[in-house]
């Protein structure tokens, strides 16, 4: 008999019997994550006619998309979320405060991302929690309202795709460079509806933060979820934080069935970018080096973690940026750590500005939106037309090192030149 994939095991565990790809299952989520859209979700929830959320302690609400509120409309959303959580007696609310940050960073930091559990989030990058061995997937607002009311959600058990990485990344090369290359190969719909599993000693060698970058971008290949094997690094991270005891380390069997497989040697990965206006428009750095930029941005759920800020600071220390450079730590915990270890000083000395933890300009709401004709090199996850502001602006996605080096020269540059 064929072995099982991670997705088959996680969804099988949730329903209490073995399941196979393409079966339809109804599961009770372990946690439901939502952010600023909690306000609109709560309005839809009220329309259903149910008074209480099925289990208020399973809701995790983290304000991040526009924090502090950039307009009164945003403020109304926040107010609705605040009142709803209070009225429901739901304890896990992360308001605009130094306990906050980007939802996909805070959720694991607070111990909600746990191996083998099922998490749904009303945000497409919910797949990030796969770095902790969680089966985590994004859904829409209405679907979240329905899950709050019923305590369940349907899934087709996804087929799986296997990405294997061996070896180690070279000096100046980042996990982001690897996943941008993978996205270029798989294409933006190549993993549609699938579970993407990352395998190999190359993945094991990466930090949990780097694995979050990989899983975060699963959705940009169309995936339902993305996942890395939860190893000792993950167990060390979650120890003392876990908000639920009902978790279990699950991983795919060696003889599991995959519809697609890709293999990489990390030693062959070079810095790279996704050119405007699609995430799979990959180019090695040499092809785009010299492209003039107007803005550099380091942050987001993809690359706003301490290792990202440190990697940027390593390049920016003793240098000056040539264009406006915006740094946004993914959480206030990261902000604090970067403040204490001198990382923020190095970034400020170089001429960067450091904004408060949150999503920032990633979705074009505030803190660095673009004018017509402007070019931004960004560590975020999407370079769609108009994503960061005007529809005639241009976004190149890259690693924190590439963004830092490009900020120094004012044009897209190979970070390996810094060393």
């Amino acid at each position: 008999m064929m072995g099982r994939t991670f997705a088959e095991k996680a969804l099988g565990r949730a329903v209490g019997h073995p399941v196979n790809a393409n079966e339809v299952v109804t599961v009770e989520p372990d946690f439901c994550m939502s952010h600023d859209n909690t306000g609109p979700i709560s309005r839809t929830f009220k329309k259903i006619g149910v008074k209480k959320v099925w289990k208020p302690e399973r809701l995790v609400v983290i304000l991040d998309h526009g924090v502090p509120a950039p307009s009164s409309d945003h403020a109304v959303n926040h107010k609705e979320a605040r009142e709803f959580m209070q009225n429901q007696g739901a304890p896990h609310f992360y308001d605009v405060s130094s306990s906050g940050g980007v939802c996909h960073q805070k959720f694991p930091e607070e111990g909600f991302a746990l191996p083998g559990q099922i998490v749904i989030g009303s945000d497409s990058h919910t797949c990030t929690y796969g770095a902790f061995g969680t089966f985590a997937t994004g859904i829409g607002r209405t679907e979240m309202a329905a899950a709050w009311a019923t305590g369940n959600i349907w899934f087709k058990v996804p087929e799986s795709m296997k990405v294997t990485a061996k070896g180690r990344l070279g000096k100046g090369v980042s996990a982001k460079d690897f996943i941008l290359k993978v996205m270029g190969d798989v294409k933006s719909d190549g993993a549609d509806y699938m579970s993407v599993e990352f395998h190999g000693d190359g993945i094991e060698s990466m930090s949990v933060a780097s694995r979050m970058t990989l899983c975060n971008l699963g959705i940009e290949m169309g995936a339902k979820n993305a996942v890395c094997k939860p190893d000792q690094k993950v167990l060390d991270f979650i120890r003392g934080r876990e908000k639920s005891s009902g978790w279990e380390v699950l991983w795919a069997d060696p003889d599991a069935d995959y519809v697609k497989e890709y293999s990489y040697d990390l030693g062959e990965i070079t810095p790279g970018v996704a050119k405007p206006h699609t995430v799979d428009n990959y180019a090695p750095i040499a092809e785009v080096a010299g492209t003039a930029i107007n803005q550099a941005f380091i942050g987001t759920c993809t690359n706003g973690r301490l290792e990202d800020l440190r990697a940027a600071a390593e390049i920016l220390k003793g240098r000056k940026v040539a264009v406006r450079t915006i740094i946004i730590p993914a959480s206030w915990n990261i902000y604090r750590e970067a403040m204490h270890d001198g990382t923020l000083d190095a970034l400020l000395d170089a001429g960067c500005i450091v904004c408060n933890a949150g999503c920032g300009p990633c979705l074009g709401a505030h803190m660095g939106t673009l004018a017509p004709g402007e070019v931004c090199v960004s560590t975020a996850n999407r370079n769609f037309k108009g994503r960061m502001g005007d529809k005639e602006s241009f976004i190149y996605l890259a690693s924190p090192r590439t963004v830092a080096m490009s900020a120094v020269t004012g044009k897209i540059s190979d970070p390996r030149e810094a060393f």
Binding site: G49, V50, D73, G140, A146, T369, R382, G386
Partner: protein, 164 residues
Amino acid sequence: MKIKGRVWKYGDDVNTDVIFAGKYTYTIKDRAEMARVALEDLDSDFTKNASPGDIIVAGKNWGCGSSREQAAICLKERGIGAIIARGFARIHYRNCLNEGLPIIISSELQDLIQKGDEIEIDFDLGEITAAGKKIKFPPYPEFVQGLVNDGGLIPHVKKSLGLA
């Protein structure tokens, strides 16, 4: 159910940011207002001139990117009769069904028709009539048919909870 409508034709990988721009996600709350900015960053002709009953025909991976549900709502409220694509990104696929917006997966139509052509969809027969040809499309999977029959997720859930 049968519908007849004018076609708006698009290519591959149309993402939810260009269907409903990010800058509006927390500022526009009214559904009718969402409809007014539909496809603003993709096709200003559509934004100005799309009419109720019109049909969108697209390439692969329609609705990729953000989970923002307004991308489905703005088209539903605009009165779009159906979206026919070679494929749909999964969150948007669910959002359309949850909104009660009919979606059809078909790869045969894209090369046959042009923007502005009139086509007919017979949902009961699973058949599209376009450019004098009849094209079959598969029915929804059984597990989503109930959702579709009830007119979307909220009516479906209300019914299942005995609140309808």
